[in-house]
């Protein structure tokens, strides 16, 4: 019989104490989750904090930077703003600057984006036949930046795109926590 000395503390606990330990762990996880959901509600964006994956927005953003996003309906999108958007059919959002806007009287807009460090605009990245982006594709607008080096995520993404995506997909609950932001190419 293998000696379970390290489990002595657990064995000495009664049912209530064991349940309290489980609850303690649950509360730590819940606190993190609630803070994240709270941020989601306050900013209105489904992914309030994202990580920049590639260098298409240098010298403004470097790889590994954290971006804080908001997605308020009242704020109109204007040329020169940096938006994070998702293209249909792709999981990872992209952060680029707005280049051109077509706006109707009722507020409906179509806009074109381009990365600061890219030579051409993003039409090559959009879906086949799509030339403009719309409001529904937007995840949020960049409001703040935090220089940091998210080494774990970057290491994973350099090793293989697939493993980075798997890392994203597996943490389903915290899928939005470490959304990578990428130029796409």
């Amino acid at each position: 019989m293998l000696s379970l000395d390290f489990l002595d503390d657990v064995r000495r606990m009664n049912k209530r104490q064991l349940y309290y330990q489980v609850l303690n762990f649950g509360m730590i996880v819940s606190s993190a989750l609630m803070i994240w959901k709270g941020l989601m509600v306050i900013t209105g964006s489904e992914s309030p904090i994202v990580v920049v994956l590639s260098g298409s927005m240098e010298p403004a953003f470097h790889r590994g930077d954290l971006l804080f996003l908001t997605n308020r309906v009242e704020d109109p999108i204007r040329v020169g703003e940096i938006v994070v958007f998702r293209i249909e059919g792709r999981e990872i959002p992209i952060v680029h600057r707005v280049l051109k806007i077509h706006e109707k009287q009722n507020g409906h807009i179509k806009f074109l984006t381009k990365g600061d460090n890219n030579a051409v605009d993003d039409r090559g990245l959009y879906k086949q036949g799509q030339h403009w982006l719309e409001k529904k594709d937007v995840v949020g607008r960049a409001r703040g930046m935090q220089c940091s080096f998210c080494w774990v995520y970057l290491c994973l993404s350099t090793v293989s795109k697939k493993s980075a995506l798997l890392f994203l997909g597996r943490c389903h609950t915290f899928r939005y926590w470490m959304f990578g932001v990428d130029t796409g190419l």
């Binding site: 819940s30 709270g38 509600v41």
Partner: protein, 226 residues
């Protein structure tokens, strides 16, 4: 001897429950209670890391609880602990509801429900903090002494303790609330934890138990004099 009797009582209780579950096969019933016996180590001397403050405090608290419950045969009242567990369970429930709702209805539609859950969660956290600070107040045991005649309400004994961080002075406070007169009396002692643990981190019950008994008797004899 009291510890062995309690151990027998506990395993008897668990054996009884497993017997009720599997009445046809006595063999599995005995086997299950045997495993439960091996799991529980009430008789083994308590050995902890002597430099870990919270482990020291927990082991002293648990041993004081054991002395009071087994030697004096008091009945533990779980009201305070249950209150705390309920508040924590409700908080986790709100978190789980938020998680599932957000999964079923993706973000923009789930905004009102999410806002409600987040606010409720933080309100529950505030309630929990107030509860542990003002109602629980480091009390870890509430025990009742049933009146043998059955006429008067129970006497209540409360144990609370404190051990400051990186300090070696352990304070144990015993509070007696008479059932009849509702008067409250307390006694406490502050001793260095070095008096109760040996160099390897084993709690020496022979040094600790007399302290508890002395505390208890000092409050009990006052009652008799009255």
């Amino acid at each position: 001897m009291a510890a062995a009797a309690a151990q027998g009582g506990r395993s008897g209780g668990s054996g009884g429950s497993s017997g009720a579950g599997g009445g046809s096969s006595c063999g599995t019933g005995v086997g299950r209670s045997g495993l439960l016996d091996k799991w529980k180590i009430d008789d083994k001397p308590v050995k902890i890391d002597k430099w870990d403050g919270s482990a020291v405090k927990n082991s002293l608290d648990d041993s004081a609880k054991k002395v009071l419950l087994e030697k004096y045969k008091y009945v533990e009242n779980f009201g305070l602990i249950d209150g705390r567990l309920t508040i924590c369970t409700i908080s986790c429930f709100f978190a789980i509801v938020a998680l599932i709702w957000d999964y079923m209805h993706p973000f923009p539609e789930s905004k009102p429900v999410l806002a409600l859950c987040v606010i409720s969660y933080f309100v529950m956290m505030g309630i929990l903090t107030i509860y542990t600070s003002y109602k629980e107040k480091s009390i870890f045991l509430v025990a009742h002494r049933k009146d043998p005649t059955g006429m008067d309400p129970d006497d209540i004994w409360q144990l609370s303790s404190s051990l400051k961080r990186f300090d070696d002075k352990y304070t144990l406070k015993l509070t007696f609330i008479s059932g009849r007169t509702k008067q409250q009396r307390e006694a406490e002692f502050t001793k260095s934890i070095a008096k109760f643990f040996d160099h390897s981190g084993t709690l020496v019950m022979d040094a600790y138990e007399p302290e508890i008994s002395r505390l208890h008797d000092s409050l009990a004899t006052e009652r008799k004099i009255k």
